[in-house]
Symmetry: none
Amino acid sequence: MSAYSIIFIPMARPRSDDKRLTILRAATGLFAEEGLNAPTARIAKAAGVAEGTIFTYFANKDVLLNELYLALKGELRAALAALPASASLKEQVWLAWRSYVHWGVSNPQQHQTLARLAMSPQITADTLAQGNRAFCDVSSLLEQAMRAGPLGQQSVEFAGAMMGAMGDVTMTFVRARPEAAASICQDGFAAFWHALSGA
Amino acid sequence: MSAYSIIFIPMARPRSDDKRLTILRAATGLFAEEGLNAPTARIAKAAGVAEGTIFTYFANKDVLLNELYLALKGELRAALAALPASASLKEQVWLAWRSYVHWGVSNPQQHQTLARLAMSPQITADTLAQGNRAFCDVSSLLEQAMRAGPLGQQSVEFAGAMMGAMGDVTMTFVRARPEAAASICQDGFAAFWHALSGA
Amino acid sequence: MSAYSIIFIPMARPRSDDKRLTILRAATGLFAEEGLNAPTARIAKAAGVAEGTIFTYFANKDVLLNELYLALKGELRAALAALPASASLKEQVWLAWRSYVHWGVSNPQQHQTLARLAMSPQITADTLAQGNRAFCDVSSLLEQAMRAGPLGQQSVEFAGAMMGAMGDVTMTFVRARPEAAASICQDGFAAFWHALSGA
Amino acid sequence: MSAYSIIFIPMARPRSDDKRLTILRAATGLFAEEGLNAPTARIAKAAGVAEGTIFTYFANKDVLLNELYLALKGELRAALAALPASASLKEQVWLAWRSYVHWGVSNPQQHQTLARLAMSPQITADTLAQGNRAFCDVSSLLEQAMRAGPLGQQSVEFAGAMMGAMGDVTMTFVRARPEAAASICQDGFAAFWHALSGA
DNA sequence: GATGAATGAGTATTCATTCAT
DNA sequence: CATGAATGAATACTCATTCAT
């Protein structure tokens, strides 16, 4: 950026990011428990801030919803541990799958809220698109894996959506029987891998 | 009144099943477009009845939601054409899959509203259970097909949920590219069949 | 009655007085328990008639309220047993007092509803006046008794109102301690008689 | 903010007791004119506040009613001027009576609303009890005065209720003929005093 | 006449958002 | 910037009354 740039954003970042995150976290919890129409007043209380404060961080509730969607997608992305390039394709997909399921199981509120947001009419197409952008490395993995499989003629997005959907189902059943988590997660992956690669 | 009737029971306009359905249909449309918190007043207007009329057919909005869930599940069930016992297992599953995807694609509002209801905290566990009861014949198909596959150790419900989830994804992509409906539906099924049977 | 008539309405007295009374009685009970804004629908149900039937007997709810007021005043009037002209003035007043208190205690719903109606803005001045008309014989008793007392300069209505108010208080306390009914009723009368006659 | 304040506690507009009172006063007027089911919206308008504001001061209408009851009882209590211990018993009771009647006559809305609230099923027994607590000094007066009278065997509450009831009647008649206020008030008291003391 | 479904104005209450402090 | 009282449009639900059967 040139020294002549007109818009200068000082380093003094007001509106502490900390408080912003606290609000998002409180919203996540409430949305999981009461649905997306949990009142902003309750979110504020859960976050330990004043009702009005929410609106210094988010222009309105819709903005809050969209930013929360991106934040949760970001957390999920961060949870998908680095995929070691040395490992085999199947192993890499397995690692991605496992971290996805693991994230959903250990962060049930985040996962459920993310699922609800994804279905909500308040999340814009733009936000949805932007949310997917971070997952391109997983996409390229899937692209390779699906080539010879039954979805060979379809788009990577199709395979990605399948992974999300099948992963969600798997999480649900792990949650119901946590003691069988490992086998459920593995069997779910086996099913997904067959669906993807045909073998 | 026939001359044979001895006891005269005066009767006001009977509650019409037709009107009940009109309301449910209007609700389906609005819920698909605006989410489950579409106001009852708008539902009434869309159904062409007075606001109060909704509450002669449904005690409150929650009841409306739950009954709508069951009604939509029922429509879906009815759409799953009779499965010919003569056909092979794979063929029967294929027919079920195809009718499911077809139903969702040609009834997008019903499908989306059903999906939203299924995630909503207002639908009781009891309603969910009751909704599944009608699908036991599909379940027994899946049970046979999954035995030797990767989900062999898991419950039928798991397989059923997978079918639902994978079908939903398939519908979404058919909707985006209707001209490729046939191939998308088939490829989706191929993926599902691999996931289910392992072959 | 002809053998051909299916529906036989006896003397063809329309709007059976019986049903009218049933409705008034049901209203009395509900008004006592829930206040005067108990819904007409509930009154109908309690009376065992259809919602609409109420409005063939009473043009609207206000009319129902006013007619109920008069009906209850009438019942009260009927309960004030004939006052034997042979008895002394004090004894006659005592009999009137005793029957009043007794009526209120043994008909708590009637009494409470009457009290509520009397305070309600929906009862017209005309109705109130008409309700008092039947009590002129009691009035003339009071008129004689009050002459030499502290209220000697005031109107009979004043004394009548005092009797009503003091009687109501007495009923309330009898209801709270029914086992002491007799002494409470007597002491209440003694107080009233002193207030009235000054001795 | 003073330079001496160490801790800065940001404060929004504090909840004003003034506004609370304005609402209660508006409610008093409307309840007197239209009965207790005057809509909250109209109360708000009369008080010059937004509809929602009522609910920042009173959790719901029932709470408003109960708090209004206590407020009115409080006003009445405050109106019962200090009773000079030097005066004779009868004179003290007379002062209490006169201030009571005077209060009711010069605050007809307060008085009528208080009377309606006292009969309403929405006022809890607890509120009623709490409302009476402030009147114990009057009670002890009555206790002395009633000892030798016709109510000697009864509770003070009985005498208190009589005073309230007889006072209410007196107010009503004063209101009808304001020019005769003094004599009506005195005669009413004479009647009450006879009822109480027997002389 | 009797019935109860239909009506729609009316009601208490909620809630996103603003703004005085 | 934070706060939370103030706002008023919006919402689910009620209820007196009408009217088709």
